[in-house]
């Protein structure tokens, strides 16, 4: 398993957000973390990357325990994080944003360069010197993904990439994720959009109130109408 999370508990002050969260991802897998608003998807991701310190639990990345490590160390192990609210560096140009994310190449993988990323996201290539703050939401979302890829991660935590985007952009986003999957990248995707998730993910973990309530392959979830209605219908 590339990532294995067990018994993860996270608190915000006195609020107990994650309650014995558990999930695993094999290398090359695309797993979607499904759940309604406030289910704990983002908190799971923030706990894994170290932005939120879990109060208990184990997080093993490629066999190494990383729970409690500082974010920059975790990131340097090859774990990429794309936050849901994009957080591009507004004053920095596209090229500079990419530069901030750059890390050395990792063994066994073709290193990402701005040029390769511009093939994946052609829009970005046309606005290399534009400040991040003067881009549309969809362009910013592409930039944050590209920025994280510049670190040559082995696993990317992708927090709701389709949120608030126009349908045509969501479509582009799905194609980009499929392309990344084709490159062999492992992805943990947080989503509320079952349709979007269904198009890209191999497997799903459904969370509710900080607990795992369903886990299995995407086909199994498609077949399990009861689970979908119970946990995901709005």
């Amino acid at each position: 398993m590339l990532l294995s999370v067990q018994g993860l508990n996270t608190h915000y002050g006195r609020a107990h957000i994650l309650q014995d969260m558990a999930l695993t991802i094999a290398a090359g897998e695309v797993r979607v973390l499904l759940g309604r608003n406030g289910a704990g998807k983002s908190t799971t991701m923030k706990s894994v990357i170290g932005l939120v310190r879990p109060s208990a639990g184990r997080i093993a990345f490629d066999g190494v325990e990383i729970a409690g490590e500082e974010p920059h160390r975790i990131a340097r192990r090859g774990l990429g994080y794309v936050p849901e609210d994009r957080r591009v560096f507004a004053d920095l140009t596209v090229m500079e944003n990419l530069e901030v994310g750059r890390q050395g190449a990792r063994g066994g993988m073709r290193a990402w360069t701005p040029e390769r990323l511009f093939e994946l996201f052609p829009n970005l290539g046309r606005m290399r010197d534009r400040p991040g703050g003067r881009m549309s939401g969809g362009e910013q979302q592409m930039l944050t993904i590209a920025r994280t890829l510049m670190g040559n991660p082995r696993l990317v935590l992708l927090d709701e990439p389709s949120e608030g985007l126009a349908p045509v952009i969501v479509e582009q986003m799905a194609n980009a994720i499929l392309a990344l999957k084709g490159e062999g990248l492992t992805i943990l995707l947080a989503e509320q959009n079952l349709h979007f998730a269904g198009g890209v993910a191999d497997s799903a973990t459904v969370v509710e109130k900080g607990r795992v309530v369903w886990s299995g392959t995407m086909e199994a979830l498609r077949a399990d109408e009861a689970a979908r209605t119970k946990y995901l219908a709005v």
């Binding site: 990357i49 932005l51 920059h72 990131a75 936050p83 957080r87 920095l92 901030v100």
Partner: protein, 613 residues
């Protein structure tokens, strides 16, 4: 006007020195969000270290350059030590506590410098090349000043290249915008912050070393330059290098011409310009609205009513205070009277800062206005003490209303800086308008009426006014007005949406705080019998901040405890050691590191935890 050109050149030379210090300050603020009070101390160290190095070297220009570079390295190293030992531990503390910690560093470095180099100012023996002149437009101009004029733009250019053309600079600019995201992308913020601090410290050291030929290494550099540097950074826009450069030129030239044209009000002029700039451009000339630096924010202090046990403790303390004159001797009665004044001084600042959310760096202004109002009334119309005690809060309140109209338009650090500027204006008027205020000599002979002549009676009066004032302010906090004020602090936009007039609420808070503080100033003056401009210095304003922050913003008891602890600590230290600044500074730093929520806040937490267990 033959004097225009030389004066302009002098102004430009001054602007260069100013820029060196301000650029470091603005870079450090941009990344770490710390307003580094100790930046002036770093420049002072630069001057002293530069003196020690340069006096040991031959007096040729190439050795001068080498010596200056060595000084820059040395101050950068000191910056690294400071960052690792102190600042790194307070990045997570609230903004004002960080400021407090850096002020602690100022005190420590003052005594360390005094101890290492002694109290005498140290001029640099000038080599021949430093005495050369260049003829420009018919008048002789020091060559060194011309070199200085060039240094400013050169440093600006180098810094621009560093920030915009290197990976390191890109990371620094990214960290200025979103530190947490930078960390999540695999960048070690710690080394980045340390390096930024070293760069800033090095620039301050450069400024210090280069100032030597025109002045000297002396112990007044730190607070003198930090005020100017604050003004420059705020006028230019926090975090903006180009802004700092433009503002340095503005202030430098203003100072140069001000000394010739209006020698008496130069200080006022500089701060007036800052006030005008901030009113029209609340984020400085080239600054942009401060996007909150993203990271876990510290919740605004919630002010809860004291638990019954604490009330009982308070009543016991009050009874003890009333009985004190029968227990303690004359000396301690004076200390206790000072403590009463300190309590009102601190509580009034807390009112503005805690519930009002407006951190004032110039609270001593109201103290001074109250004091001078009482003093001048006595001098002009022979007003007796009761009239003076009544007039002081009224005068301070009226001035506070005028000033409040300007200040409520700003927020955060800009607001704090405008309050600092205002206090400096008040100080300058009291200091420079000798005909009215007596200037440095102060106003003497403030007499108490016969019934209050006895030290004990006066102490009781001070106690009554101080405790009464504090209780009144507390009452206001729990009145609808207090709730509205706190709502306006927590979210101005939401408060407006439910129909609260945020600006008026804030002006009223400033008027109330100013009036209460003015009263404390008058009490203090009648206690001492005299009034001096020192009542309005930055140090005195910082004392108020120290008391409030030591006690903690979260509780009403906080500023009272802070005032008592500070008064006691200062009294003990001043009497027991020559190095009192060093000890006080170190204690402040330790307290901030250990109790980021203040003494009262920490005590409250321990108390609650004890009861839960």
């Amino acid at each position: 006007m033959d004097s225009i050109l030389p004066q302009l050149l002098t102004g430009l030379a001054g602007a260069s020195s100013l820029f060196l210090v301000a650029s470091g300050l603005t870079i450090i603020f941009g990344v770490t969000r710390i307003v580094n009070f100790s930046h002036g101390s770093l420049m002072m160290l630069g001057a002293y270290i530069g003196w020690s190095i340069l006096t040991r070297l031959p007096r040729e220009p190439e050795w001068f350059v080498l010596g200056v570079l060595a000084t820059v390295l040395a101050t950068a190293l000191i910056g690294v030590v400071l960052e690792v030992v102190v600042l790194r531990r307070v990045y997570r503390a609230p903004e004002l506590f960080q400021l407090l910690a850096t002020f602690g560093v100022v005190l420590v470095l003052q005594d360390v410098t005094l101890w290492l180099w002694g109290p005498v100012e140290l001029p640099l023996p000038r080599g021949r090349w430093l005495r050369q002149f260049v003829e420009i437009g018919g008048s002789r101009f020091p060559m060194y000043d011309l070199i200085l004029i060039l240094v400013g733009p050169v440093v600006l250019g180098l810094l621009w290249l560093l920030m915009n053309r290197t990976r390191w600079g890109t990371l620094v600019r990214a960290a200025t915008l979103d530190r947490e995201m930078v960390a999540a992308l695999g960048v070690n913020q710690r080394t980045l912050f340390t390096a930024v601090f070293a760069l800033g410290a090095g620039l301050a050291g450069l400024g210090g070393a280069l100032s030597l030929p025109n002045s000297s290494a002396n112990l007044n550099i730190d607070l003198a330059i930090i005020t100017d540097a604050f003004v420059v950074v705020v006028v230019g826009g926090l975090g903006s290098l180009t802004g700092a450069f433009v503002a340095s030129l503005l202030i430098g030239i203003l100072q140069a011409f001000g000394i010739v044209l209006v020698p008496k009000i130069t200080l006022v002029l500089v701060f007036l310009v800052m006030a005008v700039v901030l009113v029209f451009r609340p984020n400085g000339l080239l600054g942009r609205p401060q996007a909150e630096a993203r990271e876990a924010t510290v919740a605004a202090p919630v002010i809860r009513a004291a638990p019954p046990e604490l009330r009982a403790l308070g009543v016991a303390a009050l009874l003890l205070a009333i009985a004190a004159p029968f227990i303690v001797g004359e000396y301690y009665l004076t200390v206790l009277t000072d403590a009463c004044v300190a309590i009102l001084f601190a509580v009034s600042l807390h009112f503005m800062m805690g519930p009002g959310g407006m951190a004032s760096f110039g609270h001593a202004a109201w103290f001074g206005i109250g004091a001078y109002a009482a003093g001048l009334l006595m001098q002009w119309i022979g007003a007796p003490m009761p009239v003076g005690l009544l007039a002081a809060p009224v005068a301070a309140g009226i001035v506070a209303a005028l000033f409040g109209w300007f200040v409520v338009r700003l927020s955060g650090v800009y607001l704090s800086m405008l309050t600092l500027a205002f206090a400096q204006i008040v100080w300058a008027i009291c200091f420079q308008w000798v005909d009215v205020t007596g200037g440095d000599n102060g106003l003497l002979g403030l007499v108490r009426p016969a019934w209050a002549h006895d030290a004990r009676v006066f102490y009781w009066l001070a106690l009554a006014l101080s405790v009464g004032g504090a209780l009144l302010l507390r009452r206001m906090l729990y009145a609808p007005y207090g709730y509205a004020l706190r709502a306006a602090r927590d979210s101005a936009a939401r408060a407006r949406a439910i129909g609260l007039d945020v600006q008026s609420l804030r002006i009223v808070a400033i008027v109330i705080a100013g009036a209460a503080c003015g009263l404390s100033g008058a009490i203090f003056s009648y206690g001492k019998g005299s009034i001096f401009p020192t009542y309005i210095t930055i140090s005195h304003s910082v004392e108020a901040l120290l008391m409030v922050l030591l006690g903690g913003l979260q509780t009403v008891a906080g500023p009272i405890i802070g005032a008592l602890v500070y008064t006691g600590l200062a009294d003990i230290l001043v009497r027991s050691t020559d190095l009192w600044r060093l000890v006080l500074g170190a204690v402040i730093v330790l307290l901030v590191v250990a109790f980021p929520e203040g003494i009262a806040g920490a005590a409250r937490r321990l108390w609650l935890r004890g009861r839960e267990a």
